[in-house]
Symmetry: C2
Subunit: 422 residues, 2 copies
């Protein structure tokens, strides 16, 4: 329920146990990554609005884009540039999504990549460009170019904090995560940063069609071949960014980029006994970042985990969990600390899964709230008290099989409406 | 855009034109229907909470229930009772949905039908039972029985207004509609009442699996064979109740019942030249009731019509319209009178339809707001002024084909959250 990273141990394929240690430094923690953030003038106030993450060498890259059919210009460019599996720098602006901007938008994204390439002295095709903010407005290109020149001179190992701030839109706080593990005497690191608070219901696919207002950048100094990197990212998304929702609105700009630059000197291969260590480190970082996004969802007062068990298939478990996590009535009830559990039952009923009412048991953590499809007669005071907590874990047992899935969401509050009416 | 009933003309299959006249009287307008509403004590305050609609003879009946897999007890009973195509009385309570109430709930629904049958002196299998309100609480059966006895003595032709009030939950006003048309010298009537404000995203099927918190009761004194009645209801739903959404939450209790008692002495047959007249009258009444529901949506300040044109198929037009109509971000922007049209584009992009950005044109009534996928440069003052109106018509042309569909919805406001947190 609490997905804040702590130290953890992973069993490797050869039976050995590897320890992962929580570290500071976000996307800048792995060796050979340099970053920074500046205010270039896209946002009105003096807020940071342009970030750069740079690798000392052309890193292997895996990326995932949303399945939204409407594509922002930077997404089209980044998908094209990363198709070859290499990327050395990511330039990200907040304050404008550069989506629904047509040919001019595409020229602007391309100009951003060329400006970054020139400032960094690298090939423009090694640049990923991401934008987030309002859809339909044009970028102030000259300001961005000046910002890029500034960034290229100030990027440094400790610049991750500024970079994480510079990609924020309606986020109330920066989101970073990083871990370290050892192979022999060598320390390997994996870190990341993410942004997102609204228009959050990512449906990401590695090499997918489209784009995102949820952005996440993961770096590692391991050396990993591109195909394997994509496979591991794909798996990791299915327990992190593809399992969160704030408002059910899938963005036109959602992008996750994973870079592995090999600067640690250590390789992770497909049949490597240490592969589980890297996968688990990646999973923990992506899940921490994903849950940080919903905990900071627009207007949110509560973090909610929906865990479905006892489904016939993982796909059905996921559909059931997603229906509850996206139900406005359920989320509003949670905001009101109102034990209106019929709303969960209704959402399960319309989820598309052929649930059987009488088989359903639901728990609020350890308190039964639905038993065999009926409201359980648990002590109302205990339920109410539990509902006042700001992290809630609902366990829904469909009683039809062995499959399970989790979704993470937040409550729906008047503040969500106030934030988005602007 | 304004679906309030007015007089209208219909071209019949024999080329003649029939006039339909708007009349008063709701579900009580057709000949041989009697109704009333009382306060029996389900709701705390002295509000009406029990309604009865009675036909002087066993009417032909068509009914539609939601596709939600979780079934309220009254829905199971009503589906069973109406399977034979006959119904003489509908008893409806508000204040409790009798859903997720297990065996006791089923016994309670059955007891309601038997009490109504006894009070009216008819077969219990001719009774439809509907319940609406909170899910998971049991009915106060003794109070309901007393209420039924009272109703049986007071039902009358002019009782429709009370009946329409007695089925309300979070509705702020009663919803009624009725029309009259002539076949030769004989006047035929069709009328109805509906309730619903939240948990509104009906997906109804004639003889469908399930239930609803949107309830609608349509009566007519035409004589129509059950198969044809079902066919006409099925068609009518696809331009009315199956095209509305308030919050995207499909209820466990949604039910539409259409009764035709033949008391006018006139028959409408499958090959009848006057069939279009009856169908159109039915369509106008169901659409007026459906649009009254969204206009009275929980917390709503604006009625919104989403009209999609230029789709490849009706199914795609519907999916595109539904995605926009259910988008929290779009609905919140409308509440804020905020011309954030990128949110419409994003919703179209995730609708599942393979839209092409550059083909899309969107209008707010007559004002272009998106042209070829880009924000149109219409006069901002005109747009802002139009957005202050309380009925908004968005026309979305996908530019891919000839098919079109409409959805009706309302804005998302802080009041929606306030109403539902309780």
């Amino acid at each position: 329920m609490n997905y804040a990273l702590t130290d953890f141990w992973v069993k490797n394929m050869n039976g050995s146990t590897g320890k992962c240690r929580k570290i500071e430094g976000g996307a800048g923690a792995p060796k050979g990554f340099f970053s920074a953030g500046v205010h270039c003038g896209i946002k009105a106030e003096k807020k940071l609005d342009l970030a750069l993450v740079f690798s000392e060498n052309p890193a292997r890259a895996a990326a995932a884009f949303t399945e939204n059919r409407i594509q922002a210009a930077p997404v089209k460019l980044t998908r094209r540039n990363l198709a070859g599996g290499r990327c050395q720098a990511v330039i990200i602006n907040s304050g404008s999504a550069n989506a629904c901007t047509g040919d001019r938008g595409e020229r602007d994204s391309s100009a951003m990549s060329r400006a970054a390439a020139a400032a960094l002295g690298i090939d423009p095709e090694l640049i990923a460009v991401c934008s987030t903010g309002r859809i339909g407005s044009f970028l102030p290109l000259e300001r961005i170019k000046s910002g890029i020149d500034e960034l290229a001179t100030i990027i440094r190992q400790g610049g991750n904090g500024e970079a994480a701030k510079a990609i924020m839109t309606t986020d109330s706080r920066a989101k970073e995560s990083a871990v370290e593990f050892k192979l022999g005497e060598t320390a390997l690191r994996l870190g990341g940063m993410a942004k997102g608070a609204g228009m959050i219901y990512p449906r990401l696919r590695v090499n997918g069609l489209n784009q995102a207002t949820m952005l996440a950048f993961i770096t590692s100094d391991a050396e990993v071949e591109t195909g394997l990197l994509r496979e591991m990212l794909s798996r990791s998304l299915e327990q992190s960014f593809n399992r969160i929702t704030v408002d059910g609105d899938t963005s036109t700009n959602d992008t996750v980029i994973l870079l592995a630059n090999g600067s640690s000197g250590k390789n992770i291969g497909a049949d490597d006994p240490n592969r589980p260590l890297f996968q688990e480190a990646l999973d923990r970082v992506t899940r921490e970042l994903a849950t940080l996004i919903v905990a900071d969802g627009e207007g949110a007062s509560k973090f909610i985990e929906i865990e479905v068990r006892g489904a016939r298939t993982a796909e059905e478990a996921r559909a059931a969990a997603a229906a509850v996590a996206n139900s406005s009535l359920f989320k509003t009830a949670v905001y009101g600390e109102n034990p209106n559990w019929g709303r969960i039952m209704a959402a399960l009923g319309y989820s598309g899964v052929e649930v059987r009412e009488e088989n359903i048991n639901i728990y609020l953590a350890d308190i039964p709230i639905i038993k065999g499809g009926l409201i359980a007669d648990s002590d109302p005071d205990s339920v109410r008290k539990r509902l006042t907590e700001n992290r809630l874990h609902f366990i829904i047992d469909l009683g039809q099989g062995e499959a399970g899935e989790r979704y993470y969401t937040c409550d729906l509050t008047p503040d969500y409406v106030q934030i988005n009416k602007l």
